[in-house]
């Protein structure tokens, strides 16, 4: 008989579905982790270039951040460490639902600060062709799916944490 995995009180999924979701979680985590680490190891990285090129409704906020050294420093830290921690959590499956929410918030900001909408021109060179939908938007919804269908309590460090909590609850 095929084994089923219960991922929340209503849903059970089969092996293929579970491994598919885990694989998605790990590769999204990998991407986010490397985005963070790449910035972390580059002492000259700054969010200023991205923010200066911001268009649409948040461009005013972006420029205010750039022109205030304290805010810019905070923005740099939040980006570097936010991405690194979220990526790490997703990959290893630890606190991964929180990581999904954090990742959605952060990547939504990237999307909203420079959305590929009609009529918006960016001066930085693009690495693909996008019309409204870009990789950020897709990743946001990938994280949403991972949030709705959590897997880290099945495959991931959350499994151990959950067991510990259960044991504590029992004792």
């Amino acid at each position: 008989m095929e084994s089923r995995h219960s991922i929340n009180s209503l849903t059970t999924i089969n092996n293929a579905q579970l491994y598919g979701l885990v694989f998605l979680r790990v590769i999204v985590g990998w991407h986010i982790l490397y985005e963070g680490v790449a910035k972390l190891i580059n002492p000259y990285w700054s969010s200023a270039a991205f923010l200066l090129d911001s268009k649409w409704i948040f461009s005013g906020i972006a420029k205010a951040i750039v022109s205030n050294p304290a805010l810019l420093t905070i923005s740099d830290y939040v980006n570097v460490w936010g991405l690194t921690i979220i990526g790490f959590c997703l990959m290893l499956g630890v606190f991964s639902r929180y990581a999904c929410v954090g990742g959605m918030v952060l990547i939504s900001l990237y999307y909203l600060f420079s959305p590929p909408l009609l009529g918006l021109e960016y001066s930085r060179p693009g690495e693909g062709s996008y019309l409204i939908v870009n990789k950020n938007l897709i990743e946001i919804f990938a994280l949403y799916i991972l949030y709705l269908f959590p897997t880290s309590h099945k495959i991931g460090l959350d499994r151990l944490l959950q067991n510990k909590l259960n044991l504590k609850g029992l004792s």
């Binding site: 885990v22 000259y44 205010a64 495959i155 460090l157």
Partner: protein, 529 residues
């Protein structure tokens, strides 16, 4: 019992394996990260260490202005003159109000804070001379404005009807000359003979003879002359010089300099002031040194405000823009005066009555150095070609000094047929598609391994403008260099010898264009052949 415990153990083991199942992926990630870091480090080692043998810290601007208080006069308080005086610490009330308001509305507008954070140069503006009354009054206004890096000024300026009257004032130590070019040599010679130090705007002179006059007068009197090429204060040019001095480009046989502008303003079609008339403008004094004279009228007004368009008052592209790019190259490679110059071009776009060309090219030959320098300019296209110093091993690409936007950084690209880098190109350490070296002003250092995006931004100078708190106007530094040298009896960065090289080179190019023949420099007899 034993069955149950072994079942529990199995469950625990399975739990454990499933909990740690993605750890190997993380290990794989770390292993790849380590490989990448190692590769990047190897790239850096092979590029940066070689490229920058000595890492000079950025120039620290020391305040040397606490010596003698200097009194300066401005001759020609127009667009450029007002900028120079601002560099010395004096702006009109109208300008400081405007810049302050602009910053309140948009805090990326930094002109006000850039001005206010200038060093106090410990000087006063005590004389203003301008043939247009409106400008003269603005100059007086600037000398009195309490808003400035030095606070309330010690003295305010007196208005002079002409430069000779101003030079009679013994309280004036030094003068800034920002008149049209046809007046430069007369005023410089009169000023140094009257014992005044001189800051003169570029191009130094209108003719070759005037260059000799200035050179000789300055040398005889020993006064300090600074020519207005503020690029001399730009660190990127010093860095470029270091790289070329280290031989990293290999033999250089060809340099390309370019100017690309495409606007009325860029083509010197400047506004004719609404208050300009025969009463507010001293037209006869204006045209005193020019070869051709015309009576005052609408044509004269055009010539007064758009003087760069006529050879009677300037030399068009030569003195205005070629001089900048030539001086940048002279700063980086100590070119000196070429052996031959030939120029060509024409009035192809602005058929508005001007007699200077709007498309113009010069070839400078340096046979002793096995080098040709090509300069090409257009006033009807913004296609920014930059400046290229082309070596056998690598090419240095600089943002052109004369293009809109001005001072940028530079990058160095290895040549795929390079001898010096052959081994590294073969090993894949150097990828000739990407720059091996990038310098952007204001960024903390040089990074040989940057992403395409950050290189793009670096070249745009965006990081420079907003990243590091203080942004400095090179014009201020250039004026400061001049005043510091006056106090210390040193020669400034764009001193009379360098200025003479600029003036003679520009004069050779202008003469070649006007006569249609190749012009030769005879350094022994100091004449053009």
């Amino acid at each position: 019992m034993s069955n149950e415990s072994s079942h529990d153990q199995n469950v625990q083991r399975r739990d454990f394996i499933k909990a740690l199942a993605t750890i190997p992926v993380f290990g794989f990630f770390l292993a790849n990260l380590w490989l990448k870091l190692k590769k990047d480090a190897l790239k850096r080692k092979n590029l940066l260490v070689d490229l920058v043998q000595e890492k000079k810290p950025p120039t620290i601007i020391k305040n040397r202005s606490n010596g003698k208080h200097l009194n300066i006069g401005i001759i020609g308080y127009g667009g450029r003159g007002s900028h120079l005086v601002r560099g010395a610490g004096f702006a009109t009330k109208g300008w400081t109000d405007y810049a302050y308001k602009a910053n309140q509305e948009n805090n990326l507008h930094k002109a006000y804070s850039t001005f206010m954070s200038q060093d106090d140069l410990n000087c006063s503006l005590i004389g203003v001379c301008d043939l247009f009354d409106v400008n003269a009054d603005l100059g007086i206004d600037a000398s009195k404005n309490d808003t400035g890096p030095g606070g309330a000024p010690k003295y305010s300026a007196k208005k002079y009807m002409n430069h000779r009257e101003m030079l009679e004032n013994d309280d004036i130590d030094a003068v800034i000359i920002a008149t049209p070019d046809h007046w430069h040599s007369k005023i410089v010679v009169d000023a140094v003979k009257a014992g005044k130090h001189v800051y003169c705007e570029k191009g130094l002179t209108r003719t070759f003879q005037e260059a000799l006059d200035i050179h000789d007068a300055v040398k005889e009197t020993g006064m300090i002359l600074q020519l207005g090429h503020q690029n001399r204060q730009v660190e990127a040019n010093d860095k470029a010089k270091e790289i070329i001095d280290q031989g990293l480009l290999g033999p250089v046989n060809l340099v390309e300099l370019t100017t690309n502008r495409n606007s009325q303003w860029g083509a010197w079609v400047w506004n004719i002031h609404k208050d300009a008339n025969s009463k507010t403008i001293d037209w006869e004094t204006f045209q005193e040194p020019s070869p051709n004279k015309i009576p005052f009228g609408p044509e004269a007004l055009k010539r007064y405000f758009r003087w760069r368009c006529w050879y009677d008052y300037g030399t068009g592209l030569s003195g205005d823009l070629f001089s900048h790019d030539y001086d940048q190259l002279n700063q980086i490679m100590a070119m000196g005066i070429p052996k031959y110059a030939s120029a060509s071009g024409g009035i192809y776009f602005y058929k508005d009555g001007r007699d200077v060309p709007d498309v113009w090219h010069v070839t400078l030959e340096y046979p002793d150095r096995d080098m040709t320098v090509l300069y090409s300019a257009t006033l009807s296209s913004n296609n920014s070609r930059g400046n290229r110093i082309m070596g056998h091993d690598a090419t240095m690409i600089l943002g052109g000094q004369s293009n809109a936007g001005g001072v940028g950084g530079f990058s160095v690209e290895a040549d795929r047929e390079s001898t010096q880098y052959r081994e590294r190109i073969e090993k894949g350490i150097i990828n000739t598609k990407y720059p091996i070296y990038n310098y952007s002003p204001g960024s903390k250092q040089i990074d040989g391994v940057t992403s395409a995006t950050s290189q793009y931004f670096a070249n745009k100078g965006l990081l420079y403008a907003y990243r590091d708190g203080k942004r400095v106007d090179p014009t201020h530094l250039h004026v400061k260099d001049w005043l510091d040298c006056i106090r210390e009896g040193r020669q400034p960065k764009c001193n009379v010898d360098v200025a003479f090289e600029e003036a003679v080179t520009c004069a050779m190019a202008t003469e070649s264009y006007l006569t249609g023949r190749r012009v030769e420099w005879d350094p022994i007899k100091r004449r053009l052949v």
